[in-house]
């Protein structure tokens, strides 16, 4: 039937995600610079960085798993993007749904963790330990959000969630239906994206950027690509769950950029949290909000 069409969609979705992700990285760095009253990087800086990293003459590898780890990290995101419906492109949204997506997103993290492990650098392992702990911290409220949304829309299919919100107008948007859960999601968004103030796992001065300590050249480049996907995914998921998704790119893009911009703008104002403080914070306020939100939603 529309097999060819689907194939094109599947190809297009990761590419779009990457391009938009690049722009988001730029935006993030610009926001950071502006907050610090700097000029910030030029427009094409993310591309420069990636090209430079891929074109390094020395690509230091610590073994096969180090390489496979990076492949898993990038490949996993490429695959995950096809589960994420965007205007005009539903991809495989009906084959998996929100729960599948949430677990698919752990594949890149796992790949990266394995790759870092192979490097035999304790700084990397410490970073992974902290990153996994942080994941434990934010995933618990995140799962409340996923559950709440699935409950409200009566489905875990993201494409259906979008169509429900689109058909019934703004009043049916997630943010109106379940404002507390939206707030929860917003609170944990910087942690999901691994950004300030929850980036203890990179802690450059302390554990030499943690997981990235042995990453050079294209390995680092792969992680830069992954970061683009990461920001994009976070933005799109939030938009899909709470902001009605989008039928047109023209309305969709501002939403996802806004979603990413909000935590970024706030985040740079805070100092880093320690690991146990991340846990304590995440398990206190977002969790509380999430539970109340759920109670409200489920009556």
């Amino acid at each position: 039937m529309h097999f060819l069409e689907l194939l094109v969609e599947l190809l297009l979705m990761p590419i779009l995600a990457f391009v938009i992700g690049l722009a988001m990285v730029l935006m993030m760095r610009r926001i950071g610079a502006r907050i610090q009253r700097r000029v910030g990087p030029p427009v094409l800086q993310p591309i420069y960085d990636i090209i430079k990293l891929y074109s390094k003459d020395t690509q230091i590898s610590h073994g096969l798993m180090h390489e496979i780890g990076i492949i898993m990290a990038v490949g996993g995101y490429i695959a995950a993007e096809t589960l994420l419906p965007v205007p005009g492109l539903d991809g495989l949204a009906d084959k998996g749904g929100a729960v599948t997506l949430a677990y698919m997103l752990m594949i890149p993290a796992l790949g990266m963790a394995l790759g870092v492990g192979q490097c035999a650098n304790p700084n990397g392992s410490i970073g992974i330990s902290r990153a996994l702990t942080a994941m434990l911290a934010y995933d618990i409220p995140f799962i409340l959000v996923i559950f709440g949304a699935s409950y409200v829309y009566g489905t875990t299919n993201l494409a259906e969630m979008i169509s429900i919100q689109q058909q019934q107008g703004v009043s049916s948007w997630g943010i109106v239906q379940m404002p507390l859960l939206a707030l929860t999601a917003l609170l944990i968004l910087p942690a999901i994206m691994g950004k300030h103030p929850f980036e203890i796992y990179v802690a450059p001065a302390e554990i030499a950027t943690g997981p990235m300590v042995e990453m050079s050249g294209k390995f680092m480049g792969g992680l830069f690509v992954m970061q683009c996907f990461q920001l994009y995914t976070a933005g799109v998921i939030f938009t899909t769950l709470f902001l009605g998704g989008g039928v047109y790119w023209i309305t969709f893009l501002p939403k996802i950029f806004l979603v990413v911009a909000i935590p970024m703008s706030v985040a740079y104002l805070f100092p880093r949290y320690r690991t146990e403080d991340v846990l304590r914070l995440m398990w206190k306020w977002p969790m509380l909000l999430g539970l109340i939100g759920l109670a409200v939603v489920m009556k």
């Binding site: 910030g40 030029p42 800086q45 591309i47 960085d49 390094k56 690509q59 950027t209 990453m215 680092m220």
Partner: protein, 248 residues
């Protein structure tokens, strides 16, 4: 103290290699693009050995903002393109600097900041200080001064940027090509069993940068003392004899 011109540097090789033109015009464009990106995205490892480091924060923060030039600080040699050596280098520190340099992925550049890296500066008489950085590592740019202001630092970085863009900043290759010379100087300073856990000769082979200056008496001495450094290979069966030696 060695004279600068006594260093047997074969300038013409590196220059010729740096600006080699490929016959395919597209490949040329590609090379240009890569060099441009490399020049516009420089990650630096500031090895803050001395007082010069104090000038870097202003260069990075709101006043001068290096990031607008695509220059970012990085904390591990694996991610860095530039090694900034910001001040005097004691003998003990130099060992670390050399290791760090060797762990950086090519193309890599060294910038010596402050007079101390040029000729020892105010430590010129110190017994514990390596005076001329250039004897041990191929330095791309010196930014002299005690200490140089942020403007000078940025200016130096821009010079390097230009060199990279034009393809003439290829001093890193000299380290491989003349490894015996650099190693000799290092051995003279440290001891004859001096070694780092990095395998420079294998890397030189990897990039085809072995010249007749790469290997010599000093590398022979090195190989006498060196622990074997082959990467760990997969093993399914019995053929373990080669790697077993690693333990001894």
């Amino acid at each position: 103290m060695n004279e600068l011109d006594k260093i047997p540097v074969r300038q013409e090789i590196s220059v010729a290699q740096g600006s080699v033109k490929r016959s395919n015009p597209l490949a040329n464009v590609f090379d240009e693009l890569v060099r441009f990106c490399q020049s516009r995205s420089m990650f630096m490892l500031h090895y803050c050995t001395g007082c010069g480091a104090i000038e870097l924060p202003p260069a990075m923060t709101s006043r001068f903002d290096m990031e607008r030039l695509g220059i970012q600080p990085m904390v591990t040699p694996r991610q860095a393109d530039i090694l900034l050596i910001t001040g005097y280098v004691s003998v003990k520190t130099l060992k670390r600097i050399i290791l760090t340099y060797e762990q950086m992925p090519a193309p890599k550049y060294v910038i010596g900041i402050c007079s101390c890296t040029v000729n020892g500066g105010m430590y010129w008489q110190s017994y514990a200080t390596a005076k001329v950085l250039k004897e041990y590592l191929p330095v791309d740019i010196y930014i002299a001064g005690c200490m140089p202001r942020p403007e000078a630092v940025i200016s130096g970085l821009r010079d390097l940027m230009g060199d990279i863009k034009s393809g003439s900043a290829s001093n890193w290759k000299r380290y491989f090509q003349n490894y015996d010379h650099y190693l000799g100087n290092q051995q003279k300073l440290f001891d004859e069993d001096w070694q780092t856990p990095t395998d420079i000769i294998a890397e030189a082979e990897h990039y085809g940068l072995i010249t007749d200056q790469t290997l010599g008496e000093h590398t022979a001495l090195l190989q006498k003392h060196q622990q074997p450094l082959e990467a760990l290979e997969f093993s399914l069966g019995e053929k373990r004899e080669k790697i077993r030696g690693e333990n001894q």
